[in-house]
């Protein structure tokens, strides 16, 4: 049976946008003005200052040792800003690790990493607590745009991407994974 949100009645009036959501007093750029290379000719108070609202998705994961869908589905063109794991039950076994990856092509664990791929570099989740999970140092560009086929295997622009998880070995570990991101940012890669 699915868990019941005790505050469902309070929050039933959720407001949902297709997004991305931006906010700032000025969002239209100044015509014929390059604010990256010609500072000072227009007062800062007249420059656009709108930023993006940070979105997040969370999912409960287990130390199953198997390729598992995490229930996190990122919109196309997403830029990942940070990933946290709240470990509620310590990971056990020889390797106390977690690996997250995206798999738009359905090829399984051979796809593109969003956290450290190399076992020796993965964060040890040996105790309950909150952990920051960084990008794979072999593929940091995946975070900039999860839909760019140059860096994400089989990615297709305009198609959402599910996040999957696995572990080196099975164990008792349980965690809540949270991914913070900008949806549909479509950051152009260098």
């Amino acid at each position: 049976m699915a868990p019941v949100n005790p505050h469902a009645e309070t929050y039933k009036g959720s407001t949902t946008f297709s997004g991305p959501i931006k906010a700032g007093l000025r969002w239209l750029d100044v015509p014929n003005y390059d604010r990256e290379t010609v500072p000072g000719t227009i007062a800062v108070k007249d420059l656009p200052n709108a930023g993006f609202v940070v979105c997040s998705q969370s999912a409960a994961v287990e130390q199953s040792g198997n390729d598992t869908i995490s229930n996190i589905m990122l919109p196309p063109g997403t830029m990942i800003l940070s990933i946290q794991a709240i470990v509620t039950t310590a990971y056990t076994g020889t390797k106390k690790d977690m690996w997250l990856y995206v798999d738009p092509g359905g090829v399984g664990e051979g796809s593109s990493s969003v956290t450290e791929y190399t076992e020796a570099d993965r964060v040890s989740l040996a105790a309950v607590g909150v952990y920051n999970l960084g990008p794979d140092d072999g593929a940091p560009s995946v975070w900039r745009n999860i839909s760019d086929p140059t860096y994400v295997n089989a990615a297709e622009p305009g198609v959402s991407v599910d996040v999957r998880t696995t572990n080196t070995n099975t164990g008792d570990g349980r965690a809540i994974v949270t991914i913070n991101y900008i949806p549909e940012f479509n950051f152009p890669l260098a």
């Binding site: 290379t37 800003l81 900008i182 260098a190």
Partner: protein, 165 residues
């Protein structure tokens, strides 16, 4: 792209105004939507020689909650980017909003603002002040070549929450 834009700040919560003392029923619980702006920093001969402006403009009276760099092409040995704004003098970390280590790819925990040592900079994180801040950066590294570093600067903030002591 169906972007939805507000003047902001954006807030959310089931109860907007406190009318009593019973949690979950009548005590206000709204929070701010966290905002973010990003920009790609480049290590080139030009950026090494001068301050380079980003297109990031932080609204007045905001609280900076996190600055980070996602390094996709490592800077030279001991490569650092000093994040400033147009009101700050150049040259040293003393006048920077943050000092970002850009010499390693990815970075496991890439939140990096350890270089700030003066109280004034911490206070700017708490409240960016009465005017918007247009961010720029200086690249510094012990090794100048190959000058191909790339890092995405991530600045997260709460818009105009005007924190006081």
């Amino acid at each position: 792209m169906p972007t939805t834009t507000f003047s902001g700040p954006v807030k959310a919560g089931g109860i907007s105004t406190s009318t009593g003392t019973t949690l979950s029923e009548n005590v206000a619980n709204q929070g701010f939507g966290k905002m973010v702006q990003v920009y790609e920093l480049e290590e080139t001969a030009a950026t090494r020689a001068a301050r380079t402006y980003t297109d990031i403009v932080i609204p007045a009276n905001s609280q900076i909650t996190r600055m980070a760099v996602l390094v996709t092409s490592a800077f030279g040995t001991d490569g650092y980017a000093y994040i400033k704004d147009s009101t700050m003098s150049g040259g040293t970390s003393d006048t920077s909003l943050a000092v970002m280590n850009c010499s390693s790819l990815g970075l496991t925990d890439f939140v990096n603002y350890a270089g700030i040592v003066y109280e004034a900079q911490f206070l700017l994180w708490k409240d960016t002040g009465a005017s918007d801040r247009h961010l720029d950066y200086e690249v510094r590294a012990a090794s100048a070549t190959p000058d191909t570093g790339r890092a995405t600067l991530i600045v997260e903030y709460v818009q105009n929450n005007n924190l006081t002591e």
